[in-house]
Point group: C2
Chain length 442, copies 2
Amino acid sequence: VERSLRDAIREGRLVAGTPLPSTRALARELSVSRGVVFEAYAQLAAEGYLEARQGAATRVAARTATVRRARPPRALATRGEHDLQPGRPDLSLFPRPLWLAAWRRALRQVPDSTLGYPDPSGTTELRDALTAYLGRARAVAPDPQNTVVTTGVTQGVVLVARVLRDLGHTTIAVEDPGFHVHRWSLERAGLAPVAVPVDDEGISVDRLAASGARVVLCTPAHQMPTGAVLSASRRADLLAWAHAVDGVVIEDDYDAEYRFDREPVGALQGVDPERVVYAGSASKALANALRLGWLVLPSWLARPVAWERLAADGGGPVLDQLALADLIDRGDLDRHLRRTRRVYRARRDALVAALGRELPEATVTGVAAGLHALVMLPQGTSEERVVAQGAERGLTFHGLSVMRVDPDPSDAPGLVLGYAHLTEQAIDRAIAALSEAVRATK
Amino acid sequence: VERSLRDAIREGRLVAGTPLPSTRALARELSVSRGVVFEAYAQLAAEGYLEARQGAATRVAARTATVRRARPPRALATRGEHDLQPGRPDLSLFPRPLWLAAWRRALRQVPDSTLGYPDPSGTTELRDALTAYLGRARAVAPDPQNTVVTTGVTQGVVLVARVLRDLGHTTIAVEDPGFHVHRWSLERAGLAPVAVPVDDEGISVDRLAASGARVVLCTPAHQMPTGAVLSASRRADLLAWAHAVDGVVIEDDYDAEYRFDREPVGALQGVDPERVVYAGSASKALANALRLGWLVLPSWLARPVAWERLAADGGGPVLDQLALADLIDRGDLDRHLRRTRRVYRARRDALVAALGRELPEATVTGVAAGLHALVMLPQGTSEERVVAQGAERGLTFHGLSVMRVDPDPSDAPGLVLGYAHLTEQAIDRAIAALSEAVRATK
């Protein structure tokens, strides 16, 4: 009764204002008990489909005509046939059965009292699990007391920036080229980004020292977008700088879980936990849509950052955090990473081979780790025209200039190509199309 | 093999640096295949428990000694034996099987492409479901294009405040008394709160007009904490004010899903969707820990607010949103609300009866709706001493002065009591203890 009435109203077969038969009459007509009809009317009235008035017939409510449908998600519109945008793992590898099992255990075991307003720092379970995981996998010197769960690196960086702004900072040094979205988020958070150049040893500490900023956001494990690893001497210089200016290093541990050819480099934070903020996320290891990340903070920053999260959004969803803790504790995250690393390494090899075949004049860097490659084109090639020609061939990717702080036509032309979400065959097709696009600009 | 080795390392039975037997030797000893041992070593090395070096024995890794445990959650420490703090539903009523079923369907049906970075406005599924739900249940004039999913009312208010600050606003009018946590979040978001008094018809629009602010945050359905419903004439005055000053009303639809005795009052937003921002959440209807809320915005504000969410945290978790959409679409949310409304009404009755019996000199207001009561004590009673005497008897609750913008010892003494999470017996015990506390201050 309830469902057929609701459907009739939703689909417009019963229009607003229509009086319904009395519960007694309808019960007789349908040969059901009057209680069944009464229950259905009460539920539909509670949902707002019906209006019950004392002494008058129950009617179809007026306001149900307002229902409209949302537009299709934007993502569908912005990805071409050959999608080489960076920032996404292969989402078909997301371990749905493992995640469901972890989530179900979390829901079964969580005590009622934990379903109230959350601790803005995150659940103790996840902070404990991250402490163990980051200690062994990334040589972070973690401490659950100084860990704050976030929705990802962006939120982590923004929370820290707001607290540092309150402590008197006005600028923050960022890598150039570097991840443009973070520059925008930092500006919105009240710190003005100051560009510091990057070379093949990573960020230039000399230029950083000259910038006047006392906070820097950088990607030591795998520079975004050049792929450079911060060299040993630069690591030492960077920490010495932080001490000298009483500054803070925010370490975005970008793509650190995917290393293909070389020894892992431990996190900078492990060397100087009171100067370095460590930021990471599960976006590449599992899926961006989970919105789970973390900060490991100097002890003096942990509490203000947790309060900032409380002020900003009241803390994150508890069940998702418990599920991730369960996944980590069982070793399932490591197992998943081992599996996907193998897949991505084969795709990396396919990309490098295809680029060597189709674009031998290009220089490919940054492919020892991470899920994107930087492809530098010969001087004289127009990056802008390659992007335009690519778009005509169904290619979506970033030109390097998008990531430069102050792009100039005389900059060396380059492309930032994400490949992790493509099969080897799709990579071959995409690079063939890219090669055509480059040729078409000559 | 893997688990027993991992446990041994975790528990310290195998210490850092310990060389392990070769895979061949251990396989022979355990009568398993060498592949099994090799797989276990590889997994534990991937997890960081073991260090494998070419040409040397595999050893227990050094860094596993850093593991520490998080402190117990704060919540346990701050709630007394008789907990009367407002803001929490009865979490034991959270419909775990329904939520699990909805969540499982969401995970099963979600396409891979939806697991990438989310639309910062929220999933189309949830925005569509909210459009239908808020239209019929709250007479909101919703539009999925103008809906932004949030983590709750706090994030919604903060996102809107930041955008309005960028548009030149510097102050925001808030209700006095009113929800103190929002005042703090607004300040952090860059708008200075200006207090406007509340009487038994709700916020004073005359005083609002005199405040100079052109934005107001208010709770028309059930004022927090007085429980006043904004009167019909004040509703009209408020919207006329917003037109006159080209202003914005932020409607926190606080506790609107729980109405016990009177006709529901539709949302203000439905009357003037281009002047009113509607903010709600699932915190009381389901559980605070889900962190799911929503904004319905004037069309000119929807896009800047979605961008602000993108800058702040990159958008919310997708699966939780899909689960809520499923729950709403099936009518399960309405059904759950009907069930819990009955439970809370009985508790409300028990509270009113207990207060009449134990504290006949007090005036109880705001109990026609919502999950808390305002209890005004006779002039001359010291609110501060009642709170202190209550604490000695294991009572935790808010004195009204906490919610006043500028508390003064001459203010009328009052208590804000949340009761929804307590059984009728627990309410009786708590109010008996409260009565003792009040007597002890005489």
